[in-house]
Symmetry: none
Subunit: 195 residues, 4 copies
DNA sequence: CATGAATGAGAGTTCATTCAT
DNA sequence: GATGAATGAACTCTCATTCAT
């Protein structure tokens, strides 16, 4: 029944995700998930021992989804600057998308459950993105599109800026324009002049 | 009366701050604050109606403290780059300081209590810092220390990066070295070469 | 499930009734009911959201009980005066019965929860009794037992008098004799002379 | 300082009355009275040991007011029927007057604090009114206005009816018309035909 | 006498978790 | 495996009452 269990878990996860998106992590109760999933109270415990476990699984499945969603859409002849711009604009959309976002819940979760070093999905995703950006920048430097002595730090800087924008969107609020200006500044810092 | 009440509020605030630092915002209960403050259950309600009110006051008093703490220490002959570096290193210390930090609680609070536009202390502090940095950068440009076409965006970029580092410290963890490298990259972006 | 729930509700209702009888409406706490019912604190909330809901259900079940309890006992050959007397003496018993009476709690409930027009059980019961009395008096008039030009008002007058006796029993106290004298006066007013 | 104390008590009583009228007996808290009276929390306890004592005093002062308020207004040449009608119409007004009425609070008080036999103000007032009515009816009988064999019971019947109307006004609601019809029925029962 | 800050018992309510069926 | 009724600890908040000033 490992098969059946997986299907059930998927079902729970999907519904739980909706709840987490809507209410964040802390405000979500087992009851909420039980009601959304149309599963029995006891049934939930057959698959998950506590709310944290559920959330972690939601996060995992989300992380898996995010990975390949980007790659496919890149045109053959795209320049490094094109790709970077695409990436940043994708991030912009996600930052502005308040609804249907796990951002808040994720932060909340990590506030409560301090980094278990390994198995820190957030960190893995972050590092993956950094590595990708670094390669991209390095390639842009090679093709003379970018000017950058430290692609590794540039990549990290971009990621921290995005992270800063993301959290700011949740707390102090942020406009699309403000993000655009930051995107512009990032490209500027890499020596890209015209837009 | 008003005087005494203020003193009592200060006392409660101090203790409440400790609790918020330790447990974050959501996990903190009135009971926690009551116990720490060595005040009676009902007594707390004489001064504050709910945890949100207490937290906001803690935040306010913290914001007030932060404001003037920096100014005094700047040497007369400090260059713009010196000052910027000092500011960034101050921030570094604060980012790394897990204990005695309200960061987490603050984010949690703003997750729950969405932007009251005005009176958003976080935003006000952010904008104040941006304005200060912008002036600093502009002055650095004038003195030929910095190269920067868009001081406003540069200032914001620095602030978003710091915000990204701050939240990362709470979620995926971060080292002092990593922050140093970002500081270095910021200066680099402003055209400062030797360190 | 629905079946079991109903049985449990009945059980709670029975115990809650005891508490309401003993302590009235306002002084009754959820805790009281919980303790009497030998149910858990949270358990009660599975069936009822607040004390008002419980009380209303107690009232409903009581109202249902009262309805048919009277009819069956009337002898075939009873005259209108006989029946009226029987009714009044039944009421007398109830008025004097301090213990096992929901009267006080009922009044208290309706003080707090002002007339929801429909669904006002008290009113419904009152009007039902008025209608019954009116028919009875009219029939008595036809059979020359009673003299009454306004059976509708006579019926209401009887009911208001009973209500007055009932509340007086709870506040200023009342004796069986006093009620008897009022019963006598009622019959007298309807032109019934010998007793 | 017995004099000063009395003045203070009067002040408290007046304000407390307002609160009791507005919120009833049980829902009224010491806090409410303190706030309305603009007296200190501790100060209240200097004069009254508990809410019951305050209410009883309010009731007493009210009872004193009611006593003489009626007598003065009777015209010299009024017949017994005139006076009775005046009395009943006065009562009607009071019954309909939901606001500015201590009725509910009074019932609530007597529910909680069972009749101390002596010193039952409610009873005393009731009996006073009964005695007055009895005299009135007897006088009416002598002047051939009324037909009544048992003025004592007639008087009591009127009072119970009024009591019934009063409580009904608070629970199931009642219209002015309905009261009028009862007044009409009372007069009819006393053999008064034209109105 | 008078004050009002402080107390603490106790009310209502919620929720993660268990366990008999 | 699956259910959902039941549990009880924990939380928020209120209020009569006290007592140092």
């Amino acid at each position: 029944m490992g098969e059946k269990a997986k299907i059930k878990k998927q079902l729970i996860l999907g519904k739980a995700r909706e709840v987490f998106v809507e209410k964040g992590y802390k405000r979500t109760t087992m009851k909420d998930i039980v009601e959304k999933s149309e599963i029995s109270r006891g049934g939930l415990y057959l698959y998950y021992e506590n709310p944290a476990q559920i959330f972690l699984d939601v996060l995992k499945s989300d992380s898996a989804v995010g990975e390949d969603s980007f790659e496919g859409e890149i045109p053959e002849d795209a320049t490094a600057a094109d790709i970077l711009l695409m990436f940043l604009q994708e991030e912009k959309k996600e930052i502005l998308r308040k609804k249907d976002s796990l951002v808040q819940a994720t932060y909340e979760y990590y506030f409560e459950n301090k980094p278990p070093k390994r198995d820190n999905i957030l960190k893995r995703d972050f590092e993956t993105a950094v590595a990708m950006l670094e390669k991209l920048i390095a390639s842009g430097v090679r093709s003379k599109e970018f000017v950058c002595k430290t692609p590794a730090e540039a990549a990290r800087s971009i990621m921290y800026t995005l992270e800063g924008l993301r959290i700011s969107a949740q707390t102090i609020g942020i406009t699309g324009d403000a993000i655009d200006r930051q995107i512009y500044y990032i490209l500027l810092s890499l020596g890209v002049s015209e837009k």
